[in-house]
Symmetry: C2
Subunit: 359 residues, 2 copies
């Protein structure tokens, strides 16, 4: 698939390209990270892309820089959707392990996978029983056990969006947080569930009941806004109010469901809330046979990161597995808050009253 940004890069003069980047990416230069030789070699051999960018902050007198690397992984499923469930999952585990190894070698400290990363996004099938064995316990299901080992080995915090089955057998769309010692740290359940056209998640699981938790990990205060929740300004806002410096948005979304504004919403949220947003979307084509009818959905990847000043990285590719490494200085969050004062001028008391009156 051709890459539009590459074409524009070829066709514009350097000064024009700076202007283009400023308007469309929020800064004149993308600030690429230099990757290790081994990263380039391993990723080529295993057929995934790696891209790296950095965002800096001003030096401060009292605080030290708070620099770390974040990792975002986008991937396709690895086997056809009618393969045995354990094999499908294991094949995904195998490729994710290789990507996380590379991320670790590049010093990534917090990594996030895509929504329902261990499985095809079967929610379009309207079948439930057929897929029930992909759904697991967040604290000790197969994916948490698998990632805990990697988290411990690499001293990495891992955000793992899965489908959860609770002790009563109720399903939830859940992001599990695993700390850098490999321990289960907590979870967040998706707050807003889409019903768009013939696609609906409400027959699979309930809207989240965990509010807007922010996890104070060793490396930073993080939160997770799962997929469709990115359309809700208040969802983003509550994570800011609760102190997040980084909000991940693991997604599974197809072109017809808003590709034209994929670059807008998470970027706007970073600006409005003075934090980093990390947008992740799966890639590849997934085919299902439902009552002998073929359903097919293609995910467009394009994972990217936005800084609190509104500048963003280019997206990963639309059709290939990829690792996006982003070096951030978390001091930028407070610096931008102090600059724009969006939180100081938010008048939340006025809105609390206005919303109460409305309800």
């Amino acid at each position: 698939m051709y890459n539009l940004d590459n074409i524009i890069k070829e066709r514009l003069k350097p000064e024009q390209l700076k202007q283009f980047n400023k308007i469309y990416y929020g800064r004149e230069d993308h600030c690429k990270l230099k990757l290790l030789e081994s990263t380039i070699e391993v990723s080529a051999r295993n057929n995934f892309d790696v891209a790296g960018y950095s965002f800096s902050a001003a030096k401060e007198e009292v605080r030290k820089p708070n620099i770390l690397r974040l990792g975002l992984i986008q991937h396709s499923i690895a086997l056809p959707t009618d393969s045995p469930i354990c094999e499908q999952r294991q094949a995904i585990f195998d490729k994710i392990e290789k990507i996380i190894d590379v991320a670790s070698s590049e010093n990534v400290r917090i990594i996030c996978l895509q929504e329902a990363w261990t499985m095809p996004f079967f929610l379009c099938t309207r079948e439930k029983e057929r897929w029930a064995e992909f759904v697991e316990s967040p604290s000790d299901g197969p994916s948490t056990l698998f990632l805990s080992k990697l988290a411990k080995k690499h001293e990495m915090v891992i955000v793992s969006p899965i489908l959860e089955k609770d002790e009563d057998g109720v399903w939830w769309n859940t992001a599990v947080i695993i700390d850098e010692m490999g321990n289960y740290m907590g979870k967040h359940r998706k707050n807003h569930l889409p019903s768009v056209g013939s696609f609906s998640e409400t027959s699979y699981y309930a809207p989240g009941d965990t509010g807007h938790p922010v996890f104070e990990t060793k490396y930073g205060k993080i939160a997770v806004n799962i997929c469709y929740g990115r359309h809700q300004a208040l969802n983003w806002l509550m994570f800011a109010i609760n102190g997040a410096d980084i909000v991940f948005n693991p997604s599974a979304t197809i072109a017809e469901f808003g590709e034209t504004f994929w670059g807008i919403e998470a970027r706007n949220a970073a600006i409005a809330n003075s934090y980093f947003t990390c947008s992740i979307n799966r890639v590849g084509n997934e085919e299902f046979y439902v009552q002998n009818e073929k359903k097919s959905r293609t995910y467009y990847g394009s994972s990217y990161v936005t800084a609190p000043d509104g500048s963003r990285t280019p997206g990963l590719s639309k059709d290939k597995d990829g690792l996006l490494i982003v070096e951030v200085d978390l001091n930028l969050c407070r610096q931008i808050k102090d600059k724009w004062n969006f939180n100081m001028t938010a008048r939340l008391d006025m809105y609390t009253k206005a919303l109460a009156q409305f309800k």
Copy 2:
């Protein structure tokens, strides 16, 4: 000043340009309106740009199409800032009258001017008394009297953002709504006031006390989110809750204050709230001498309109007076609400409680 979009248009092949427009403007084709010969002639003679675009909606069985034309005006001041106040204002009136005449000939039914449109944006000077005579009564001040005549003549609703002095002499940053018969219909006072770096509006006027009114004009339900209020997601949201189909964002903003995300925030608001947003910014360079020190600020124009589906028009120029004419079918608002269900899934009860707890 060169126009980046024109350069990109020249350098990309037709298929690539469609892809570019889709990603960066939300649709493959800009759907230009054909303008009258007289529009082209009058605008050239008076040195302002005119551009026109349309957004369509699907046909419905029960409702008729609800098509109308909106107008956005961006302009520079007309005389140096040390000229007599009445002359400065009159010179602006003179050029605005010509632009509104053209808008009328193109069947524009609702028009909005930029923030504090009758004056230089003197709020950067930190002086108050020197400029006090620009500040006026919203119901019968000079600008309302001037625009009322035009509104009546052209059967046009006019949104007139001015600085207001109330009966107690207190100032407000206010948008006046004049109906199509030339009557004062109401006003909205700016809710969120910026304090950014050395620039602060809080010493001039108080944060608005008029809430989030929506005006049911003959042509559509409109609201006004003045300038810095575009950074506040809840400000946009309340206008949606109160029923707006069109929200104007009259502004006066310079490159250092977020030009890199000018294209993001109002566009995101249109998506999040399923209404049209109309972003207007002044143009030109304004020079002030304050205690013998020269202050200079340059506004970057780039006014644009976004539809509820997230597609947007190109911006007007960065440095020239301009009229943006946009034909909309207001039926699109409900169609998009029904498609995405962002309001159905908003869980406002949850947020009302969460915000109340926080406060």
